[in-house]
């Protein structure tokens, strides 16, 4: 087998060569203009939500460092516009299914900072009563159907939720979030394939932050444009960069509308970037400082703030007081998490099965 070699005689994989050639715009996404229609009240609300999520995650990083939170902790810092924009396009009766990087999705779907932090602290007042942890935030009332820890494994489940909506003839839509790392996974393809075949009211949203753990996209996918998979499954597709929360909302709303009105699924790829490592143990050394700094220029929170001031003439004072309120809310949530009672043994025993096995402690 002949290996292609560079002039220095060092092997460079073909994808990498292609990647280098396309260095100007490696993902080949056209830079988007910001969304057209801007409504002050709406953007303020979305901005506040993004900021709350950011502050919650910063607080959780701090608590993690203090040893108050255990396990894995995956932060979505830098990606807030995707979950906030997308979920703002939903009705309350619509469903969300997410990954382990889902603190933001949980809050965007109506959950509170308190519930997230208390769950991370392993407390009974947490989203899942301390049974789930950071990766498994559930809220039945809000139709937040959880975060899942098996990469790609939740995609068929989300299709099943959409199946149920269609079976019952409701107009509910399901949003299924996953990372770029799900795309090579079998479950991803089986779920999307069935959704396409049965025309299920669902929108598949790939939050392409360009890395799966330490592996850049070009080393995991032969075809970098994730949405090319849509054509093989007979579903619609869309692809854009996601730092402007309103643009995300606008584009996801189109896909949601399509799902609701015509039961056609859409595969949407939103290009984004996580500013931190994959999880708390990852310093992210596989990326250059320049690359990270470049993306930080498009921090969704900064972009939102600039639009509020520049286009909507929101005063600095108004924003400062909003920001202070968010900070106070998150501080209060940290206190709440810290002071809440530990997770309940009774809830644990009763959450294994509806009719518990013989006393599980006995076995």
């Amino acid at each position: 087998m002949g290996l292609a070699s560079s002039s220095e005689g060092r092997y460079i994989p073909p994808r990498r060569r292609a990647h280098r050639a396309a260095k100007e715009d490696p993902l080949n996404v056209q830079r988007q203009e910001n969304a057209v229609a801007v409504d002050k009240k709406e953007l303020l609300a979305l901005y506040q939500q993004m900021l709350t999520i950011r502050r919650v995650e910063e607080a959780s990083a701090k608590a993690y460092a203090q040893g108050k939170i255990g396990g894995f902790l995956h932060l979505g810092i830098g990606q807030e516009s995707v979950c906030v924009g997308a979920i703002s396009a939903l009705n309350p009766t619509d469903y969300v299914v997410g990954t382990y990087r889902e603190h933001g999705h949980y809050i965007a779907k109506g959950g509170s900072a308190k519930e997230v932090l208390a769950e991370l602290y392993g407390k009974s007042t947490g989203a899942s009563g301390g049974m789930g942890g950071s990766m498994h935030l559930f809220n039945a009332k809000n139709r937040m159907l959880g975060g899942y820890g098996i990469v790609g494994g939740h995609v068929p489940l989300a299709a099943g939720v959409a199946f149920a909506s269609k079976y019952r003839g409701t107009d509910e839509v399901t949003l299924c979030f996953f990372g770029d790392g799900s795309v090579p996974q079998g479950a991803f393809h089986e779920g999307i394939s069935i959704a396409g075949l049965w025309k299920l009211p669902i929108v598949f949203i790939c939050e392409n932050n360009q890395y799966s753990m330490g592996t850049p996209l070009y080393r995991t996918l032969a075809v970098a444009d994730v949405t090319e998979r849509a054509s093989g499954y007979g579903i619609a597709r869309d692809r854009f960069e996601g730092h402007d929360v309103l643009l995300v909302k606008e584009r996801i709303a189109e896909a949601v509308e399509r799902a609701r009105k015509t039961q056609q699924p859409t595969l949407v790829e939103v290009i984004t970037y996580r500013f931190r490592g994959h999880s708390m143990s990852d310093p992210g050394n596989y990326r250059t400082k320049d690359e990270v700094e470049e993306w930080k220029k498009r921090d969704p929170i900064t972009v939102g703030r600039e639009r509020l001031i520049g286009e909507l003439k929101v005063s600095e004072d108004e924003l400062i007081s909003l920001e202070a309120a968010v900070k106070a809310e998150v501080n209060e949530a940290v206190r709440f998490a810290d002071e809440s009672p530990v997770a309940s043994e009774a809830v644990m025993w009763n959450s294994v099965l509806s009719t518990p096995d013989s006393d599980p402690r006995k076995i």
Binding site: V97, S128, M131, I150, A164, V347, P360
Partner: protein, 327 residues
């Protein structure tokens, strides 16, 4: 009413689907083809394509679809053409179905039945002859049900469909044609309740699914030598009716566990552990285990027969337990 095991299963699903529109059947070839083993014969005609759903060959995909649908209140019956193929869906079953209830702190139920045939069925070779009850039963959050007769098949499947937890319902591939008396209409067998299939006083044989019938044959043989064997069938592997087993062992003072699958980490190991811990003073002999020998199933009929538990091995084990035979 005399029915085959297959017809009993069909009746259970049909009656339940008549009762509750949230129940549907999904799987490969369940509809137009009428079921790979004809368990769903006539159901498409009766319930239509909305509720008897042919899926593509994507076990991981459709198992996951069932799980998602169950989370939001439907009651899916997911058929695996055989349990061998459930392995490509095992992530969905173990990582999701078994865990959502706990992970959500009890917010979500998982009323889903995964069903299909398991075990060897005659020269099907290594990939199509497997027993998975010990794998699934190892996982808290799942219930594992394995009926041996048409009546149990109907009663347990109806109970499984009404249950709010994920059920692994393993049918005997070799039992589909087996005939038996089945109560008409509302016949429910509670999950977790075993049944004594033959009463006896000298030795207990614990067995389930197809192996119950082999145990009964062996009991018949032994009766000719005046050895009275009690055959107990837990019917549900998890939760296990251990009290029924303990009671029988306390009466006979001897225990033979007959299992179609492998012994290593098998169900028999679990039962033996419980029996020795709860009936230590009642046992007059070491517990005997009979299992498939530890090789992937070969194709050749002589070898398949060699590694599969059969009547002579059971007879010998019972006699060992009674100190009537050495080794």
């Amino acid at each position: 009413m005399r029915l085959s095991y297959r017809e009993a299963l069909n009746q259970a699903m049909s009656e339940e689907m008549d009762r509750d529109a949230d129940i549907f059947l999904m799987g490969e070839e369940v509809g137009h083809y009428q079921g790979a083993y004809k368990v769903s014969q006539g159901m498409l005609q009766k319930f239509g394509e909305k509720r008897v759903i042919d899926t593509p060959i994507a076990e991981c995909g459709f198992a996951g679809v069932g799980i998602g649908a169950a989370m939001v209140g439907l009651r899916p019956i997911v058929e695996f053409m055989t349990w061998n193929f459930s392995l490509v869906a095992i992530d969905q079953i173990i990582n999701t179905a078994a865990k959502v209830r706990l992970m959500s702190g009890g917010q979500f139920k998982m009323p889903i039945v995964f069903r299909g045939p398991g075990g060897a069925a005659g020269q099907l070779g290594a990939q199509h002859s497997q027993c998975f009850e010990s794998m699934y039963a190892n996982c808290p959050g799942l219930k594992v049900v394995m009926p041996s007769t048409p009546a149990d098949a109907k009663g347990l499947l109806k109970a499984a469909i009404r249950d709010d937890d994920p059920i692994i319902f393993i049918e005997g591939e070799r039992l589909y044609g087996f005939q038996g008396e089945v109560p008409e209409g509302e016949h429910l067998v509670p999950i977790g309740k075993g049944d004594i299939k033959r009463e006896g006083t000298d030795c207990t044989i614990v067995s389930w699914s197809k192996m119950v019938h082999t145990a009964l044959e062996a009991a018949e043989e032994l009766a000719k030598e005046n050895i009275s064997v009690e055959v107990v069938d837990p019917r549900t592997i998890r939760p296990l009716d251990e009290e029924m087993i303990f009671e029988s062992v306390r009466k006979t003072n001897r225990c033979v566990i007959l299992e179609e699958g492998y012994s290593f980490s098998g169900i028999g190991a679990e039962i033996a552990a419980r029996v020795q811990s709860k009936c230590f003073d009642d046992l007059d002999a070491p517990i005997e285990r009979i299992n498939r020998f530890e090789v992937p199933m070969p194709y050749a009929p002589n070898l398949e027969a060699l590694i599969t538990p059969d009547v002579p091995r059971i007879v010998a084990a019972v006699k060992r337990a009674m100190y009537l035979e050495k080794n």
